[in-house]
Symmetry: C2
Subunit: 226 residues, 2 copies
Amino acid sequence: MAEDLRNKLGAQHLPLRDQVLTALRTAIIDGDYLPGERLTEDRLAEDFGVSRNPVREALRVAEAEGFVVILPRRGAVVASPSSGTIGDMFAVRERLETLAARLAAERASAADVAALRALLDQGREATERQDLPRVAELNSALHLRILQISGNPWLSSIAKSLYLHVQWVFRLGAEQRAPHSWAEHIQLVDAIESGDGDRAERAALAHLDAASAAAYENAEGGYGAR
Amino acid sequence: MAEDLRNKLGAQHLPLRDQVLTALRTAIIDGDYLPGERLTEDRLAEDFGVSRNPVREALRVAEAEGFVVILPRRGAVVASPSSGTIGDMFAVRERLETLAARLAAERASAADVAALRALLDQGREATERQDLPRVAELNSALHLRILQISGNPWLSSIAKSLYLHVQWVFRLGAEQRAPHSWAEHIQLVDAIESGDGDRAERAALAHLDAASAAAYENAEGGYGAR
DNA sequence: AAATTGTTCTTCGTATACACTTTTGCCGGA
DNA sequence: TCCGGCAAAAGTGTATACGAAGAACAATTT
Protein backbone atom coordinates (compact mmCIF):
# COMPACT_ATOMS: atom_id res chain seq x y z
CA MET A 1 0.00 0.00 0.00
CA ALA A 2 1.47 3.25 -1.08
CA GLU A 3 -0.45 5.09 1.58
CA ASP A 4 2.19 7.77 1.83
CA LEU A 5 -0.28 10.46 0.99
CA ARG A 6 0.77 12.45 3.95
CA ASN A 7 4.20 13.06 2.51
CA LYS A 8 3.27 13.64 -1.06
CA LEU A 9 4.79 16.75 -2.43
CA GLY A 10 1.59 18.60 -3.06
CA ALA A 11 -0.10 17.58 0.18
CA GLN A 12 2.33 19.58 2.22
CA HIS A 13 1.93 22.53 -0.06
CA LEU A 14 0.13 25.28 1.78
CA PRO A 15 -1.89 27.30 -0.71
CA LEU A 16 -1.15 30.97 -0.60
CA ARG A 17 -4.74 31.75 0.32
CA ASP A 18 -4.31 29.78 3.53
CA GLN A 19 -1.10 31.53 4.40
CA VAL A 20 -2.76 34.83 3.71
CA LEU A 21 -5.71 33.87 5.89
CA THR A 22 -3.45 32.93 8.76
CA ALA A 23 -1.41 36.08 8.39
CA LEU A 24 -4.54 38.18 8.18
CA ARG A 25 -6.03 36.62 11.30
CA THR A 26 -2.91 37.10 13.34
CA ALA A 27 -2.52 40.64 12.08
CA ILE A 28 -6.04 41.40 13.24
CA ILE A 29 -5.70 39.57 16.53
CA ASP A 30 -2.40 41.26 17.24
CA GLY A 31 -3.91 44.62 16.52
CA ASP A 32 -1.79 45.36 13.47
CA TYR A 33 -5.05 46.00 11.71
CA LEU A 34 -7.36 47.81 14.07
CA PRO A 35 -11.12 47.40 14.35
CA GLY A 36 -12.86 49.56 11.79
CA GLU A 37 -9.79 49.84 9.63
CA ARG A 38 -10.44 49.54 5.95
CA LEU A 39 -8.81 46.65 4.16
CA THR A 40 -8.55 47.18 0.43
CA GLU A 41 -7.64 44.18 -1.63
CA ASP A 42 -4.72 45.92 -3.28
CA ARG A 43 -3.33 46.99 0.04
CA LEU A 44 -3.50 43.48 1.48
CA ALA A 45 -2.07 42.00 -1.70
CA GLU A 46 0.86 44.30 -1.38
CA ASP A 47 1.28 43.75 2.34
CA PHE A 48 1.45 40.00 1.85
CA GLY A 49 3.24 40.11 -1.48
CA VAL A 50 0.63 38.21 -3.46
CA SER A 51 -1.94 38.96 -6.11
CA ARG A 52 -5.54 39.90 -5.47
CA ASN A 53 -7.03 36.45 -5.93
CA PRO A 54 -5.60 34.69 -2.87
CA VAL A 55 -6.41 37.79 -0.86
CA ARG A 56 -10.02 37.75 -1.96
CA GLU A 57 -10.41 34.08 -1.12
CA ALA A 58 -8.86 34.61 2.28
CA LEU A 59 -11.15 37.58 2.89
CA ARG A 60 -14.27 35.51 2.26
CA VAL A 61 -13.22 33.00 4.86
CA ALA A 62 -12.21 35.71 7.28
CA GLU A 63 -15.68 37.12 6.84
CA ALA A 64 -17.29 33.76 7.55
CA GLU A 65 -15.18 33.59 10.69
CA GLY A 66 -16.25 37.03 11.74
CA PHE A 67 -12.93 38.81 11.60
CA VAL A 68 -13.91 41.20 8.86
CA VAL A 69 -17.14 42.62 7.60
CA ILE A 70 -17.62 42.87 3.88
CA LEU A 71 -20.02 45.38 2.40
CA PRO A 72 -20.90 44.83 -1.24
CA ARG A 73 -19.03 47.18 -3.54
CA ARG A 74 -17.44 48.85 -0.58
CA GLY A 75 -14.93 46.31 0.56
CA ALA A 76 -13.78 44.86 3.81
CA VAL A 77 -13.23 46.45 7.19
CA VAL A 78 -11.85 44.86 10.31
CA ALA A 79 -14.73 43.79 12.53
CA SER A 80 -15.12 45.03 16.06
CA PRO A 81 -14.53 42.29 18.60
CA SER A 82 -17.07 43.99 20.79
CA SER A 83 -19.76 43.44 18.20
CA GLY A 84 -21.33 40.37 19.69
CA THR A 85 -20.70 41.35 23.24
CA ILE A 86 -18.28 39.69 25.54
CA GLY A 87 -21.10 38.40 27.65
CA ASP A 88 -22.70 36.68 24.71
CA MET A 89 -19.45 35.05 23.86
CA PHE A 90 -18.99 33.72 27.35
CA ALA A 91 -22.55 32.41 27.40
CA VAL A 92 -21.76 30.27 24.39
CA ARG A 93 -18.37 29.22 25.68
CA GLU A 94 -19.99 28.14 28.88
CA ARG A 95 -22.26 25.75 27.04
CA LEU A 96 -19.60 24.46 24.72
CA GLU A 97 -16.53 24.22 26.88
CA THR A 98 -18.31 22.59 29.77
CA LEU A 99 -19.47 19.91 27.38
CA ALA A 100 -15.92 19.57 26.11
CA ALA A 101 -14.61 19.19 29.63
CA ARG A 102 -17.17 16.50 30.41
CA LEU A 103 -16.45 14.54 27.26
CA ALA A 104 -12.72 14.92 27.74
CA ALA A 105 -13.01 13.54 31.25
CA GLU A 106 -14.92 10.56 29.96
CA ARG A 107 -12.60 9.84 27.08
CA ALA A 108 -9.13 11.06 27.96
CA SER A 109 -6.35 8.50 27.65
CA ALA A 110 -3.26 8.53 29.83
CA ALA A 111 -1.35 10.09 26.97
CA ASP A 112 -3.95 12.82 26.67
CA VAL A 113 -3.63 13.68 30.33
CA ALA A 114 0.14 13.67 30.06
CA ALA A 115 -0.05 16.15 27.21
CA LEU A 116 -2.27 18.41 29.28
CA ARG A 117 0.10 18.18 32.22
CA ALA A 118 2.98 19.13 29.96
CA LEU A 119 1.12 22.23 28.83
CA LEU A 120 0.35 22.99 32.45
CA ASP A 121 4.04 22.84 33.32
CA GLN A 122 5.03 25.05 30.45
CA GLY A 123 2.32 27.45 31.47
CA ARG A 124 3.53 27.63 35.05
CA GLU A 125 7.04 28.22 33.87
CA ALA A 126 6.04 30.93 31.43
CA THR A 127 3.99 32.55 34.17
CA GLU A 128 7.03 32.66 36.43
CA ARG A 129 9.02 34.25 33.65
CA GLN A 130 6.23 36.84 33.27
CA ASP A 131 6.14 36.01 29.57
CA LEU A 132 2.56 37.08 29.02
CA PRO A 133 2.24 36.47 25.29
CA ARG A 134 3.55 32.97 25.79
CA VAL A 135 1.13 32.41 28.65
CA ALA A 136 -1.76 33.49 26.47
CA GLU A 137 -0.59 31.17 23.76
CA LEU A 138 -0.35 28.22 26.13
CA ASN A 139 -3.74 29.09 27.53
CA SER A 140 -5.21 28.69 24.09
CA ALA A 141 -3.24 25.53 23.43
CA LEU A 142 -4.59 23.96 26.62
CA HIS A 143 -8.21 24.71 25.87
CA LEU A 144 -7.87 23.64 22.26
CA ARG A 145 -6.33 20.39 23.37
CA ILE A 146 -9.24 19.68 25.67
CA LEU A 147 -11.60 20.36 22.83
CA GLN A 148 -9.73 17.92 20.69
CA ILE A 149 -9.70 15.25 23.38
CA SER A 150 -13.44 15.58 23.63
CA GLY A 151 -13.53 13.80 20.29
CA ASN A 152 -16.56 15.71 19.05
CA PRO A 153 -15.54 17.25 15.74
CA TRP A 154 -18.39 19.74 15.73
CA LEU A 155 -17.51 20.99 19.13
CA SER A 156 -13.91 21.16 18.16
CA SER A 157 -14.36 23.09 14.96
CA ILE A 158 -16.88 25.52 16.33
CA ALA A 159 -14.92 26.24 19.44
CA LYS A 160 -11.71 26.60 17.49
CA SER A 161 -13.06 29.52 15.54
CA LEU A 162 -14.68 30.90 18.65
CA TYR A 163 -11.41 30.67 20.47
CA LEU A 164 -9.63 32.83 17.96
CA HIS A 165 -12.04 35.56 18.96
CA VAL A 166 -11.41 34.88 22.60
CA GLN A 167 -7.76 35.52 21.94
CA TRP A 168 -8.61 38.66 20.10
CA VAL A 169 -10.52 40.08 23.06
CA PHE A 170 -7.76 38.88 25.30
CA ARG A 171 -5.00 40.60 23.43
CA LEU A 172 -6.88 43.82 23.25
CA GLY A 173 -7.16 43.94 26.99
CA ALA A 174 -7.14 41.40 29.72
CA GLU A 175 -3.88 39.71 28.99
CA GLN A 176 -2.74 40.15 32.53
CA ARG A 177 -5.38 37.83 33.84
CA ALA A 178 -3.77 34.82 32.25
CA PRO A 179 -1.36 34.05 35.09
CA HIS A 180 -4.14 34.18 37.59
CA SER A 181 -6.22 31.69 35.67
CA TRP A 182 -3.53 29.08 35.75
CA ALA A 183 -4.57 27.70 39.08
CA GLU A 184 -8.01 27.03 37.68
CA HIS A 185 -6.46 25.15 34.80
CA ILE A 186 -4.86 22.76 37.22
CA GLN A 187 -8.23 22.07 38.79
CA LEU A 188 -9.66 21.43 35.37
CA VAL A 189 -6.98 18.99 34.30
CA ASP A 190 -7.20 17.20 37.63
CA ALA A 191 -10.90 16.79 37.10
CA ILE A 192 -10.41 15.47 33.58
CA GLU A 193 -7.84 13.01 34.82
CA SER A 194 -10.23 11.76 37.46
CA GLY A 195 -12.62 10.74 34.72
CA ASP A 196 -15.49 12.37 36.55
CA GLY A 197 -17.53 14.19 33.93
CA ASP A 198 -19.61 16.17 36.40
CA ARG A 199 -16.57 17.37 38.23
CA ALA A 200 -14.85 18.36 35.00
CA GLU A 201 -17.89 20.30 33.92
CA ARG A 202 -17.99 22.14 37.24
CA ALA A 203 -14.30 22.99 36.99
CA ALA A 204 -14.74 24.35 33.47
CA LEU A 205 -17.68 26.39 34.59
CA ALA A 206 -15.79 27.89 37.50
CA HIS A 207 -12.93 28.78 35.21
CA LEU A 208 -15.20 30.44 32.69
CA ASP A 209 -17.06 32.38 35.33
CA ALA A 210 -13.83 33.78 36.68
CA ALA A 211 -12.57 34.61 33.22
CA SER A 212 -15.85 36.24 32.37
CA ALA A 213 -15.80 38.38 35.47
CA ALA A 214 -12.26 39.47 34.74
CA ALA A 215 -13.07 40.27 31.15
CA TYR A 216 -15.97 42.42 32.19
CA GLU A 217 -13.92 44.33 34.70
CA ASN A 218 -11.26 44.89 32.14
CA ALA A 219 -13.65 45.90 29.45
CA GLU A 220 -15.24 48.64 31.50
CA GLY A 221 -12.99 51.15 29.89
CA GLY A 222 -11.77 49.64 26.72
CA TYR A 223 -14.10 48.68 23.92
CA GLY A 224 -17.07 49.96 22.07
CA ALA A 225 -15.04 52.80 20.78
CA ARG A 226 -15.66 53.65 17.19
CA MET B 1 -26.03 59.27 12.51
CA ALA B 2 -27.04 58.95 8.88
CA GLU B 3 -26.27 55.26 8.80
CA ASP B 4 -28.44 54.61 5.75
CA LEU B 5 -25.92 52.27 4.29
CA ARG B 6 -28.52 49.57 4.02
CA ASN B 7 -30.46 51.21 1.21
CA LYS B 8 -27.66 52.41 -0.93
CA LEU B 9 -27.74 51.24 -4.49
CA GLY B 10 -24.89 48.83 -4.37
CA ALA B 11 -25.81 47.44 -0.98
CA GLN B 12 -28.66 45.50 -2.42
CA HIS B 13 -26.41 44.01 -5.05
CA LEU B 14 -25.88 40.33 -4.32
CA PRO B 15 -22.39 39.39 -5.45
CA LEU B 16 -22.25 36.34 -7.67
CA ARG B 17 -20.08 34.53 -5.16
CA ASP B 18 -22.90 34.69 -2.64
CA GLN B 19 -25.44 33.42 -5.10
CA VAL B 20 -23.08 30.64 -6.05
CA LEU B 21 -22.53 29.76 -2.41
CA THR B 22 -26.25 29.57 -1.77
CA ALA B 23 -26.84 27.52 -4.87
CA LEU B 24 -23.98 25.22 -4.00
CA ARG B 25 -25.22 24.68 -0.49
CA THR B 26 -28.74 23.87 -1.55
CA ALA B 27 -27.47 21.61 -4.32
CA ILE B 28 -25.48 19.67 -1.75
CA ILE B 29 -28.24 19.65 0.83
CA ASP B 30 -30.78 18.55 -1.74
CA GLY B 31 -28.54 15.77 -2.87
CA ASP B 32 -27.93 17.11 -6.36
CA TYR B 33 -24.28 16.78 -5.58
CA LEU B 34 -23.74 13.59 -3.64
CA PRO B 35 -21.24 13.02 -0.84
CA GLY B 36 -17.87 12.10 -2.28
CA GLU B 37 -18.65 13.63 -5.64
CA ARG B 38 -15.87 15.59 -7.18
CA LEU B 39 -16.49 19.27 -7.82
CA THR B 40 -14.13 20.77 -10.36
CA GLU B 41 -14.10 24.50 -10.65
CA ASP B 42 -14.82 24.47 -14.35
CA ARG B 43 -17.78 22.19 -13.89
CA LEU B 44 -19.30 24.36 -11.18
CA ALA B 45 -18.60 27.49 -13.17
CA GLU B 46 -20.48 26.02 -16.08
CA ASP B 47 -23.31 24.67 -13.93
CA PHE B 48 -23.91 28.08 -12.45
CA GLY B 49 -23.09 30.04 -15.55
CA VAL B 50 -20.33 32.15 -14.05
CA SER B 51 -16.58 32.39 -14.28
CA ARG B 52 -14.22 30.47 -12.06
CA ASN B 53 -13.45 33.32 -9.69
CA PRO B 54 -16.80 33.51 -7.91
CA VAL B 55 -16.83 29.72 -7.78
CA ARG B 56 -13.47 29.59 -6.09
CA GLU B 57 -14.49 32.13 -3.48
CA ALA B 58 -17.72 30.30 -2.79
CA LEU B 59 -15.83 27.02 -2.47
CA ARG B 60 -13.55 28.40 0.22
CA VAL B 61 -16.51 29.43 2.32
CA ALA B 62 -18.27 26.14 1.69
CA GLU B 63 -15.14 24.48 2.96
CA ALA B 64 -15.11 26.60 6.09
CA GLU B 65 -18.72 25.62 6.64
CA GLY B 66 -17.93 21.97 6.20
CA PHE B 67 -19.91 21.23 3.07
CA VAL B 68 -16.93 20.39 0.94
CA VAL B 69 -13.43 19.16 1.60
CA ILE B 70 -10.62 20.71 -0.36
CA LEU B 71 -7.41 18.82 -0.93
CA PRO B 72 -4.50 20.95 -2.09
CA ARG B 73 -3.87 20.56 -5.79
CA ARG B 74 -6.65 18.02 -6.05
CA GLY B 75 -9.74 20.09 -5.71
CA ALA B 76 -13.00 19.87 -3.85
CA VAL B 77 -15.25 16.95 -3.09
CA VAL B 78 -18.61 17.03 -1.39
CA ALA B 79 -18.16 16.22 2.29
CA SER B 80 -19.93 13.36 3.98
CA PRO B 81 -22.60 14.52 6.40
CA SER B 82 -21.83 11.48 8.49
CA SER B 83 -18.33 12.74 9.11
CA GLY B 84 -18.85 14.18 12.51
CA THR B 85 -21.43 11.68 13.62
CA ILE B 86 -25.04 12.47 14.14
CA GLY B 87 -24.70 11.93 17.84
CA ASP B 88 -21.95 14.50 18.09
CA MET B 89 -24.07 16.97 16.25
CA PHE B 90 -26.98 16.50 18.57
CA ALA B 91 -24.74 16.84 21.60
CA VAL B 92 -23.75 20.28 20.41
CA ARG B 93 -27.25 21.24 19.39
CA GLU B 94 -28.45 20.27 22.82
CA ARG B 95 -26.09 22.73 24.46
CA LEU B 96 -26.71 25.50 22.01
CA GLU B 97 -30.41 25.30 21.30
CA THR B 98 -31.41 24.90 24.91
CA LEU B 99 -29.55 28.11 25.62
CA ALA B 100 -31.30 29.73 22.70
CA ALA B 101 -34.67 28.60 24.01
CA ARG B 102 -33.92 29.99 27.46
CA LEU B 103 -32.76 33.34 26.15
CA ALA B 104 -35.65 33.54 23.74
CA ALA B 105 -38.08 32.95 26.59
CA GLU B 106 -36.47 35.70 28.59
CA ARG B 107 -36.38 38.20 25.77
CA ALA B 108 -39.19 37.46 23.35
CA SER B 109 -41.51 40.34 22.57
CA ALA B 110 -45.15 39.88 21.73
CA ALA B 111 -44.31 40.35 18.07
CA ASP B 112 -41.68 37.64 18.31
CA VAL B 113 -44.15 35.21 19.75
CA ALA B 114 -46.67 36.11 17.08
CA ALA B 115 -44.11 35.37 14.39
CA LEU B 116 -43.44 31.98 15.94
CA ARG B 117 -47.12 31.22 16.12
CA ALA B 118 -47.48 32.11 12.46
CA LEU B 119 -44.75 29.65 11.58
CA LEU B 120 -46.46 27.09 13.74
CA ASP B 121 -49.69 27.56 11.84
CA GLN B 122 -48.01 27.29 8.48
CA GLY B 123 -46.28 24.19 9.70
CA ARG B 124 -49.50 22.56 10.80
CA GLU B 125 -51.07 23.35 7.51
CA ALA B 126 -48.16 22.01 5.49
CA THR B 127 -48.19 18.90 7.62
CA GLU B 128 -51.83 18.34 6.81
CA ARG B 129 -51.05 18.76 3.14
CA GLN B 130 -48.29 16.17 3.52
CA ASP B 131 -45.92 18.65 1.93
CA LEU B 132 -42.75 17.28 3.49
CA PRO B 133 -40.16 19.56 1.91
CA ARG B 134 -42.18 22.55 2.99
CA VAL B 135 -42.49 21.13 6.49
CA ALA B 136 -38.75 20.67 6.67
CA GLU B 137 -38.27 24.22 5.50
CA LEU B 138 -40.62 25.60 8.11
CA ASN B 139 -38.97 23.48 10.75
CA SER B 140 -35.69 25.21 9.99
CA ALA B 141 -37.35 28.59 9.83
CA LEU B 142 -38.82 28.12 13.28
CA HIS B 143 -35.59 27.09 14.92
CA LEU B 144 -33.66 29.82 13.18
CA ARG B 145 -36.18 32.36 14.36
CA ILE B 146 -35.79 31.24 17.95
CA LEU B 147 -32.05 31.56 17.58
CA GLN B 148 -32.48 35.06 16.32
CA ILE B 149 -34.85 36.00 19.11
CA SER B 150 -32.27 34.83 21.60
CA GLY B 151 -30.34 37.95 20.66
CA ASN B 152 -26.97 36.32 21.07
CA PRO B 153 -25.14 36.84 17.78
CA TRP B 154 -22.59 34.13 18.46
CA LEU B 155 -25.23 31.60 19.19
CA SER B 156 -27.12 32.68 16.16
CA SER B 157 -24.28 32.52 13.70
CA ILE B 158 -22.87 29.26 14.95
CA ALA B 159 -26.20 27.53 15.07
CA LYS B 160 -27.12 28.85 11.67
CA SER B 161 -24.27 27.06 10.03
CA LEU B 162 -24.89 24.02 12.18
CA TYR B 163 -28.49 24.01 11.17
CA LEU B 164 -27.68 23.79 7.50
CA HIS B 165 -26.02 20.51 8.30
CA VAL B 166 -29.00 19.39 10.29
CA GLN B 167 -31.09 19.94 7.21
CA TRP B 168 -28.61 18.00 5.16
CA VAL B 169 -28.88 14.96 7.39
CA PHE B 170 -32.58 15.44 7.45
CA ARG B 171 -33.04 15.50 3.73
CA LEU B 172 -30.88 12.46 3.24
CA GLY B 173 -33.10 10.46 5.50
CA ALA B 174 -35.44 11.28 8.27
CA GLU B 175 -37.63 13.76 6.51
CA GLN B 176 -40.74 11.88 7.51
CA ARG B 177 -40.18 12.66 11.14
CA ALA B 178 -40.89 16.33 10.64
CA PRO B 179 -44.68 16.10 11.01
CA HIS B 180 -44.31 14.20 14.22
CA SER B 181 -42.06 16.80 15.73
CA TRP B 182 -44.59 19.55 15.23
CA ALA B 183 -46.37 18.85 18.47
CA GLU B 184 -43.11 19.41 20.32
CA HIS B 185 -42.68 22.72 18.59
CA ILE B 186 -45.95 23.90 20.01
CA GLN B 187 -44.75 23.02 23.50
CA LEU B 188 -41.57 24.94 22.83
CA VAL B 189 -43.28 28.08 21.62
CA ASP B 190 -45.72 27.93 24.51
CA ALA B 191 -42.80 27.77 26.89
CA ILE B 192 -41.09 30.69 25.22
CA GLU B 193 -44.26 32.73 25.38
CA SER B 194 -44.57 32.01 29.08
CA GLY B 195 -41.25 33.73 29.64
CA ASP B 196 -40.07 30.87 31.81
CA GLY B 197 -36.48 30.17 30.81
CA ASP B 198 -36.25 26.86 32.63
CA ARG B 199 -39.38 25.58 31.06
CA ALA B 200 -38.26 26.64 27.59
CA GLU B 201 -34.95 24.91 28.08
CA ARG B 202 -36.71 21.72 29.12
CA ALA B 203 -38.99 21.87 26.11
CA ALA B 204 -36.07 22.35 23.75
CA LEU B 205 -34.27 19.45 25.37
CA ALA B 206 -37.26 17.16 25.01
CA HIS B 207 -37.58 18.11 21.40
CA LEU B 208 -33.94 17.46 20.67
CA ASP B 209 -33.97 14.13 22.47
CA ALA B 210 -36.89 12.96 20.38
CA ALA B 211 -35.31 14.21 17.19
CA SER B 212 -32.05 12.57 18.10
CA ALA B 213 -33.71 9.23 18.78
CA ALA B 214 -35.53 9.40 15.47
CA ALA B 215 -32.39 10.33 13.60
CA TYR B 216 -30.54 7.39 15.08
CA GLU B 217 -33.27 4.96 14.18
CA ASN B 218 -33.37 6.29 10.69
CA ALA B 219 -29.63 6.28 10.26
CA GLU B 220 -29.24 2.63 11.17
CA GLY B 221 -29.09 1.73 7.52
CA GLY B 222 -28.20 4.81 5.63
CA TYR B 223 -24.90 6.58 5.89
CA GLY B 224 -21.21 5.97 5.93
CA ALA B 225 -21.55 4.48 2.50
CA ARG B 226 -19.03 5.45 0.00
C1' DA C 1 3.26 -8.46 -14.33
C1' DA C 2 5.78 -4.56 -12.60
C1' DA C 3 7.98 -0.38 -13.25
C1' DT C 4 8.57 3.63 -15.96
C1' DT C 5 7.30 7.13 -18.86
C1' DG C 6 4.00 10.33 -21.08
C1' DT C 7 -0.11 12.65 -21.58
C1' DT C 8 -3.96 14.98 -19.91
C1' DC C 9 -6.69 17.13 -16.46
C1' DT C 10 -6.90 20.36 -12.67
C1' DT C 11 -5.68 23.34 -9.44
C1' DC C 12 -2.98 27.48 -8.06
C1' DG C 13 -1.36 31.77 -8.75
C1' DT C 14 -0.56 35.81 -11.67
C1' DA C 15 -1.87 39.37 -14.74
C1' DT C 16 -5.02 42.11 -17.31
C1' DA C 17 -9.20 44.24 -18.62
C1' DC C 18 -13.40 46.52 -17.89
C1' DA C 19 -18.02 47.74 -16.06
C1' DC C 20 -20.02 49.74 -12.36
C1' DT C 21 -20.17 52.03 -7.53
C1' DT C 22 -18.52 54.60 -4.12
C1' DT C 23 -15.56 58.15 -2.60
C1' DT C 24 -13.14 62.23 -2.99
C1' DG C 25 -11.92 66.54 -4.20
C1' DC C 26 -12.75 70.46 -6.71
C1' DC C 27 -15.48 74.11 -8.50
C1' DG C 28 -18.71 77.75 -8.91
C1' DG C 29 -22.56 79.93 -6.81
C1' DA C 30 -25.46 81.47 -2.96
C1' DT D 1 -17.83 80.63 4.27
C1' DC D 2 -20.60 77.08 3.16
C1' DC D 3 -23.26 74.39 0.04
C1' DG D 4 -24.52 71.54 -3.82
C1' DG D 5 -23.14 69.22 -7.59
C1' DC D 6 -20.09 67.24 -10.83
C1' DA D 7 -16.09 64.87 -12.57
C1' DA D 8 -11.98 62.27 -11.59
C1' DA D 9 -10.00 58.63 -8.79
C1' DA D 10 -10.26 54.58 -6.25
C1' DG D 11 -11.93 50.13 -5.49
C1' DT D 12 -14.83 46.15 -6.06
C1' DG D 13 -16.98 42.52 -9.04
C1' DT D 14 -16.43 39.65 -12.77
C1' DA D 15 -14.36 37.54 -16.78
C1' DT D 16 -10.49 35.75 -19.23
C1' DA D 17 -6.02 34.05 -20.36
C1' DC D 18 -1.75 31.98 -19.29
C1' DG D 19 2.02 29.37 -17.13
C1' DA D 20 3.66 26.35 -13.53
C1' DA D 21 3.11 22.30 -10.86
C1' DG D 22 0.89 18.17 -9.14
C1' DA D 23 -2.20 14.14 -9.70
C1' DA D 24 -4.40 10.68 -12.31
C1' DC D 25 -4.37 7.58 -15.67
C1' DA D 26 -2.92 5.29 -19.86
C1' DA D 27 0.77 3.58 -22.71
C1' DT D 28 5.07 1.69 -23.04
C1' DT D 29 9.02 -0.69 -21.78
C1' DT D 30 11.49 -3.99 -19.09
